[in-house]
């Protein structure tokens, strides 16, 4: 195929070969080799300076990146070298972020698995000194109080979100949005103190009830529900609302039968994640619900045990000998992590299952 090329005005550009499009490449194994090289130097360095494993890993990562950058700079040019450098930095950042997570899961599973037995789920701490006992009462307490919290927060939060998206206008809307944002940042201990003060006003000092915990947790959960539900409701296309209005459907029915079903997946996910957010709260429950060794199913009568507070007391006041209580604390922590993880899985399942089907 012959293409007429215009005669160049300067001879230089005519003879410029297409080589500037063909950059040199490091071979496939180049990256691996560079890091192997870095690791070797790091090993030598740590042997010489007699340093720890952590330091060795840091040496290896930094030196490997350096070797790779220099090699790439020589073989591939500046842009490729920068690309490789930034890739290495981003990957390292990801690695650093994963370290606490992996370490935490490793440690909690390692220490908690020991007491993850049938007794732990069936026995309370009533009459237990030393070995044995369980967290049945704390697990039930957590489930009851979290359930009550959801019962309070979900209707209030959802309706607030519906009000904000579908009805509110102007200054009031901005004010509510602002205060919801402020509420999102309330420290959990403040929520606990608020609930405590409220119930002290009603029932007198020294009161401890499960429902107080639910109220305190609601203060934390409502803004989370509002924000997530608001974002999801905003995503529902206005065209669907208009289509419904144009059929002569009143506004409230449009919201109930068109907007909410369209958004149900996102709403379910948001609510589940909000529950996961409060299920492990400790400080407000410490003040409002207290702790007990017996099983109490009634959130309107006296103290209840909850998993986070249970773990806290088992760790700080283990009794003598301490190791049994400390084991129980780890297992309680493990159960909490499993609960939160389970809730996240549930959220994903909800969003997958209820998403509007395109059917293609």
């Amino acid at each position: 195929m012959s293409v007429q090329t215009p005669i160049p005005t300067s001879g230089a550009s005519a003879v410029t070969p297409p080589q500037d499009r063909v950059a040199g490449r490091l071979p496939r194994w180049g990256q691996l080799a560079a890091f192997a090289c870095g690791t070797a130097i790091a090993a030598l360095l740590s042997w010489l300076t007699d340093s720890t494993v952590v330091l060795f890993v840091i040496y290896a990562a930094v030196l490997g990146t350096l070797v790779l950058y220099v090699a790439s700079r020589r073989a591939e040019g500046r842009r490729q070298a920068t690309d490789r450098l930034v890739t290495a930095i981003v990957t390292s950042a990801f690695g650093i972020a994963m370290v606490p997570l992996a370490a935490l899961v490793w440690e909690v599973v390692g220490r908690g698995i020991e007491r993850l037995d049938a007794e732990f789920f069936s026995a309370s701490l009533q009459g237990i000194v030393g070995e044995g006992g369980g967290a049945y009462h704390a697990l039930m307490g957590t489930l009851i109080i979290t359930g009550l919290t959801a019962l309070i927060s979900v209707p209030v939060g959802l309706m607030t979100a519906i009000y904000l998206v579908e009805y509110a206008q102007g200054r009031l809307k901005r004010a509510i949005t602002f205060f919801v944002d402020v509420m999102t940042g309330i420290p959990s201990i403040v929520a606990g103190l608020f609930a405590y003060a409220l119930f002290v006003l009603l029932f007198g000092p020294g009161i401890r009830l499960g429902i107080m915990g639910a109220v305190a947790l609601s203060v934390l959960m409502i803004p989370v529900v509002v924000r997530s539900a608001e974002e999801v409701l905003k995503l529902v296309p206005n065209e669907l609302r208009e289509a419904s209005y144009a059929l002569g459907v009143p506004k409230w029915r449009t919201i109930v039968k068109v907007v909410l079903p369209t958004a149900i997946a996102g709403l379910g996910t948001g609510v589940t994640l909000a529950i996961a957010r409060v299920v492990g709260e400790t400080a407000p429950l410490l003040i409002t619900v207290g702790i007990t060794n017996a099983t109490n199913f009634n959130p309107f009568d006296g103290r209840m045990a909850t998993l986070p507070v249970y773990a806290y007391y088992q760790l700080t006041q283990p009794g003598v000998p301490p190791e049994f209580a400390i084991d129980r604390a780890w297992t309680a922590a493990l159960i909490l992590i499993i609960l939160v993880m389970g809730l996240n899985v549930v959220a994903r399942v909800i969003s997958r299952f209820f998403a509007p089907k395109t059917g293609r």
Partner: protein, 259 residues
């Protein structure tokens, strides 16, 4: 069924902004009325004010009269929800409800209004509406599939079926073919010709050939400049508009000599 609409001195506002000024027009029953004009001249705004969809937007309001059956649709004792039950609407972009099946989309007008209907009657209504929208043969075997599984042209006909299922007197169509290919457009134009036996149809279109093909009367909207309100420049039988319009502006617009 089909009803006549008399609009007089209609001013339409978005907040303080006067978008459309002084529209006076009579829309004849059992015919297709087309509204043409450049973008932003208020055709769609005017269309939406006929079934009180305009006021759904915050700050939007209307002054003037829209009379149907001798009753002003904007008088204080008229419920906009009832107006919309009598004056249906089809939108520019097909908007079937994504959570509902094809069947449920057509039945939506009744279902959402909680009208108790026997299953057999509802089946009958769905079939009738889908036949009315020329969609029945294409979807009769997959009524339980989601409405969004259809092609764009089929979705738009599904929306038309949904609109006619509530048996309105008037059907407003806001550029119903602008998102469709020529073949789907033809299907919908044929449909309009059939539907005008039963409904009063008002259509906004940017396609002047379409206006010439389907409508009996045509209104030309225009505005003098940006920030000025749109006006109804001329309203005449379609034949006259496209052959011998009264106004110079209409002729310029139709012949493409505009601006």
């Amino acid at each position: 069924m089909a009803k006549r609409i008399d609009v007089s001195d209609l001013d339409i506002y978005y907040g303080k902004f006067l978008a459309v000024q002084g529209v006076t027009v009579s829309i004849e029953p059992r015919s297709v009325t087309a509204l043409i004009g450049p973008s932003g001249c208020g055709k769609s705004t005017f269309l939406r004010s006929i079934n009180r969809m305009h006021e759904v937007l915050p700050g939007a309001r209307v002054e003037g009269k829209v009379v149907m059956d001798g009753q002003d649709l904007y008088s204080a004792d008229v419920d906009p929800v009832d107006v919309r039950r009598q004056i249906g609407m089809v939108f520019q972009r097909p908007n079937p409800f994504p959570t509902m099946s094809i069947y449920d989309n057509v039945a939506a007008g009744l279902r959402l209004n909680n009208k108790q209907t026997k299953k057999a009657d509802l089946d009958d209504l769905v079939e009738r509406s889908l036949r009315g929208a020329n969609l029945w043969n294409e979807v009769k075997d997959r009524l339980d599939r989601p409405g969004s599984s259809l092609s764009g042209g089929q979705q738009q006909r599904l929306c038309i079926a949904r609109a006619i299922a509530v048996e309105p007197d008037v059907l407003l169509m806001d550029e119903p073919c602008s998102a469709l290919d020529p073949i789907s457009t033809l299907a919908i134009e044929d449909l309009m010709t059939e539907l005008k036996e039963r409904f009063t149809i008002v259509i906004v279109t940017h396609n002047m050939q379409q206006a010439a093909r389907v409508s009996e009367s045509t209104g030309f909207f225009n505005l003098n400049g940006v920030g000025q309100p749109g006006r109804l420049i001329e309203f005449n039988p379609t034949e006259k508009i496209f052959s011998n319009p009264d106004e110079k502006a209409t002729e310029d617009y139709i012949s493409g000599r505009f601006g």
